[in-house]
Symmetry: D4
Subunit: 220 residues, 8 copies
């Protein structure tokens, strides 16, 4: 019954030294680790310290979440992808959360295909993205969206692949802080959509990867 | 500064006799009246009593809102339509509220075009409806939608005509009672959309008619 | 991009005659249909009317959701299961919602394994249930739980298989109506858990089945 | 079905360089652009950079929203106004949001008449403002109000012209952050009032301009 | 430090026999009693039973709150009014709550002047009512209002006399159940207004009477 | 129908220069003004600037609210007090809000008696304070309290004088920001208590003074 | 680590036959059982059926919660009380919830002392009740209170014994359904108070009994 | 009826000088004092100032709450422990709140056993901790937990000792700021659990100590 999940270090409330130490220990144990929500002021320092130790580090775009791996783990991953996950962000401000999902899915051994900054205004941009994802046989799609969060329903209504919605804390006024997006994803009458909490890119990436991997696992 | 608005009798908390008396007095004064939310048990009795007085009565579909008019008022309306309003309902359970909007818009002298039970599942059914409405030059479109209320944003993103969103108290769980639909309409990043309160078909119909009429009034 | 989803008729707000007619039409089109939330007073009548037409009808335990199928569709289903879904209900009052999930998953062609009335008090009863589900290689597990909803986190923390949490509107006082259960599932720090709205057994069953099926589909 | 709406750049979460680049590109495409919610620290720099490029820039009073246009676009606008919008702000702290509405309405080719800082205490000041607006035949009136937001109802009860209410996040205690104003505008029993989200001056200006323009368009 | 307050029996959750017994005992002790929120089904029976005992009973209009007095107490009250309270109800559905306030104020020995069903639509009807109240030197004014509750602010902004706002649970959609009215009364920027809880006519009447009486008491 | 209310300048969102200018103009018009919620950084500068103009300035303890008066106005006030108001603060952190009430009541020509930092722990300290207030015949008592806000109910249950409750935004966790205190004051079953919004010392002082003054006015 | 807790059957959602069967089985296993929230319509029937089986049954006052025991269990209990619990109800409507606490505490082998219908109006009645409870050395006190729930803080501030607060869903308007009482108990600055959920008399009785018993257990 | 509770100074809103003075005075009166939530910037200065006065000072880990005692008081405490309290923290971010509980319990004369950073992920770490606490006969257990707060239910379901749950304001998204943890603790169907407000370590420590002490007191 044990779990095939990556180690995730939630750095938001940790001191720099603790984060560094814990991250290194995790790489030693598992070959890789995701450090999420590094304090902005610590990011550059942390990345360079880890690189000096000979580790590979990738920083999520518009985010302070990083993935750290040793050489062996990196090599292994390139050889055998364990599934494929599509990740869509509705707007520019949703990219950081989408990147959290991408890094976690990759830490779990999945390939990812991303499509950022689509918006409801640009609905026509959804189709080619979805087509590519389906053509490449993604096992799950993560949709990250704030404001009214409509993109998740729209995508789920178009595909058979399971869709994981991530509301983001974007927007102001009534329904701000992701509440409107969460409510509308939960109220969606489209089948094939489940959600994680507001801004929880980590949870969405892990869930989607576990869906994509279980598909792959069974095919072997 | 006086107002070109119809008289509306809100019957939900009124006794049968009071509603009947007030409705008749209003018709005498203005030629027509909308009686909204008649108690279910009073509807048949009220309609037949009013018809016996020689008045025309129309009952909204799936609703207990009625429009009452005398012969002269009815004739006048047929002769000069003062604008045209499109009305869309997302699902079957939204029709009653949409009908409130229709009756009020017609009481204000507007033509209406309705398109009910479209849903997000049937997005393809939106296009022909919108095309017809635009071809017939509606001055405003009312969109009635519950659950996640996405239809209002979708319509507003496709047309230049002002769209009035009416969230409905359909749905269960988090965001039930219209809260998700209201929040997502307010959070919508689509320009050209304004809203009225949950289930307020009367307010939406009046607002849309006033938009459609001001357009027409200026053209004369 | 079309969808492998069953037809679901949401009967809660429909008249008896409409529900009957729509259900029969759907069976004619697709071989099977799920009718969810039939009005209590209509259930017996509806079931017997459908049976008289030679259709098989199964009623969910403690629920008014039914699955209706013709002979051909029934036979087909027995021959080729398209995945397997595990379904757990924390308490007796959660069984109705769990049954919604089961019927939808089966309508989508999945086998199901159910384990009802486990509770947090009976945590020891969770282990054998999970063991059986994993031994039989379920592709996803639906966990239905009200009150504080802890069972979903507990299960997700023990298995690699994706877990779909369904909070139920059980409980009273602060956090009643499923809010506590929804909040604690969303706040869960366990990876591998996604949720649908409160009491949305239909959504959970469809999502889980789509996960289980995509696994199976790829293996052929 | 294309839209006669201006380009709006929401700068709140954009880097200075991105905002500058995107704004210039938009002016090149459309002749004009509204940049809303420029970061306070970037405002002066952005304005002077745009002016150096030979563009006209107007900054909203008490706000960081700006309208940018090239010479040709500016000239065109002076020649043919496409409708007229009235804009009222209840208090000094509502002026910034009202200015957002004004700039967007003007970017859409409308004339505007503004009347700021009226308040409920100064109800007598409402009348002359409204008289002027009606005399000059505004096609719609935007009313921006915080605290209990009563001004929107009061204005709508006095005029036939459609009124767009904008609650603002002014006030403290219960109902703060615009919730009281939003609730009371939605609960208003006055016909002829629709609302946009709290502080959404951009949405109100665009909606009102689209009402005013559709009136004008039809008269030609 | 003792209190000059009437005895009030809150009957909503009491059995018929208990209410009757407690009411009679209270009249014996104090000469009079207010019984608030008698169960609808008990009202007629209770009134006739009390009258048979030779007591005077007055039932509030549109309400099930009653005032019961013996002959001596009734005579005393007519002789010496201890202050005067004005009571306004915005709409018909607010009358029941306003009557609670009237009965309690009278039980405390005050004269009352009532003005019901004014509404925001009938703002012009406010002036003559207020004039009469001020001419007759009321010591406090109770304003009962649901929906957006604007009447309380409006009245308070016109008079020097303390105004007690009572939001009522009238209205539907966002801000229903009196929340919008409560929020807008609390957010009101008009000085001279304090509030009691939603539907609490009893509390408002008692507070207003205590204001009116302390004025009178000091003049002797 | 004119109002005997002081001018209040709400400085929280005003620039220093504007506040100074508006305050001086108000003193010129009315002899005195209350400036509430001066920005902390502006307080010392503002006070010294006003004093240099020969005006008297009093700063509320633990607060940034001030009262400004010219010599004539100050003299007048000392000669004829127009009523007396008692003001209680439950804890140290409630004193600032209580001082707002005191300054406004005094600006309206009332004497005040204050009793600060009583707490529920120090219930025994309530009695002597109340005794003094009643002995000196206050016409109203303001009770300022955060956390569970119980002090307002307790005081109202002990006296006949009208009590104005002011919940404060003190406390953390569930019911923080004054919500628990507001709710418990509104739910209080003690007659003789009305409330203003959270932290609204200005409103409470004005309301209490208007009660105390109307008492006095009538005695002349 | 096993638990010394009684079996509790939550009957609210159970069929009559199930409740009867489960209750009997529980008595057979443990000698006694508490059946909480029996449906009103089932109560008389259930009690008489259980009595016919030779079991003792006690029904809580104003409640539908019962305790059922066989002769042996009843005898045992009389012989050795395992601690003593005090139970206070603020008002008549709180008695049903208080009785739930009493029955559960007694099912756990505790003596109980009850004091019902004290109210804040009758604060003087609190003292003699508390004195008796302390004299008889209760190990814990349960305080059941609705509306503003102040009684729990008041009692906790007077005694060293641990106090368990139970908010009840009594009251209307803002803070109704027990929310005000819960919030004010949680915000209480009095040490020595902990709470259970709204209306959870069962939880309070069990917690208080476990406190009282652990005290007693250690003394032997 | 007096209270055996320590003096607690809530320093969050106090000036440095006041805190120092009040703390010293309290030590003089009682031998010891807990100063909770010292401002971060004042902590080092305060500790060293108190130590210079010959007082012992202990600072809570990850917290700014301190316990201050004179030599005599310290000696006394070592000699006679008045009960024993177990304290568990679910995660690292909960330690500060747990330490508040520990310091208060020790200030009340109790021994404490702590077990920090257990988490739901590390459920297996709960057992040895609980075993030790039970072996050492703790009289009560405080469980501090944020996010979904499940640990409190889990612990309470395993032991007979009363458990005091403290939700913490950890977590983001829906149910953030401790609301999910509070709701799930209140909704818990496990008997033997009561709660204090979010982050209220002081209240939990005092309540648990009073439980543990009353046990001990009675044994003498
Ligand atoms: N119990 C349910 N909960 C949520 N959605 C449902 C449920 N039953 C049916 N639906 C969905 O609601 C829609 C059916 O609506 P209708 O056309 O009114 O029957 C379809 O999109 C179904 O998938
Ligand atoms: N202040 C504003 N409030 C609401 N929506 C805005 C605002 N400013 C711009 N928008 C909309 O937000 C989108 C721009 O997002 P972006 O592409 O990030 O600049 C467009 O749809 C605009 O119409
Ligand atoms: N309609 C009402 N709203 C609020 N409080 C009331 C109402 N009627 C009676 N009360 C108060 O409720 C208490 C009466 O409770 P009871 O002893 O149960 O009759 C007294 O304190 C009354 O002043
Ligand atoms: N962290 C805390 N949380 C809740 N109450 C506290 C806390 N610290 C101290 N108190 C209580 O707050 C009061 C102290 O307030 P003060 O007189 O302002 O120091 C006392 O009743 C303490 O028991
Ligand atoms: Mg899908
Ligand atoms: Mg549009
Ligand atoms: Mg898992
Ligand atoms: Mg109007
Ligand atoms: Mg006034
Ligand atoms: Mg009183
Ligand atoms: Mg105590
Ligand atoms: Mg336990």
């Amino acid at each position: 019954m044990r779990k095939g999940l990556p180690e995730i270090v939630f750095a938001e409330r940790k001191e720099y030294a603790d984060t560094l130490r814990i991250a290194q220990a995790a790489v030693k144990r598992n070959g890789r680790v995701v450090v999420s929500r590094v304090k902005k002021k610590d990011l550059a320092k942390l990345v360079s310290a880890l690189k000096k130790k000979g580790l590979s580090v990738e920083v999520g775009r518009n985010s302070t979440t990083i993935i750290v791996a040793n050489t062996k783990s990196q090599k292994q991953q390139k050889e055998k992808a364990l599934g494929r996950v599509g990740i869509m962000a509705a707007g520019t401000s949703d990219i950081g959360v989408a990147e959290e999902a991408r890094l976690v899915a990759e830490a779990m051994g999945c390939d990812t295909i991303t499509s950022y900054d689509i918006g409801i205004a640009g609905m026509h941009r959804v189709f080619p993205s979805l087509k590519e994802m389906l053509a490449k046989k993604v096992g799950a799609i993560v949709v990250v969206a704030g404001m009214e969060g409509a993109l998740a329903s729209v995508v789920a209504s178009m595909v058979d692949v399971p869709v994981v919605g991530v509301p983001t804390s974007v927007g102001y006024g009534f329904g701000a802080d992701g509440i409107a997006a969460l409510a509308s994803m939960l109220q969606s009458c489209t089948l094939g959509l489940a959600v994680v909490n507001i801004d929880n890119g980590v949870g969405a990436g892990a869930f989607a990867a576990s869906v994509a991997k279980s598909a792959t696992r069974q095919t072997r």
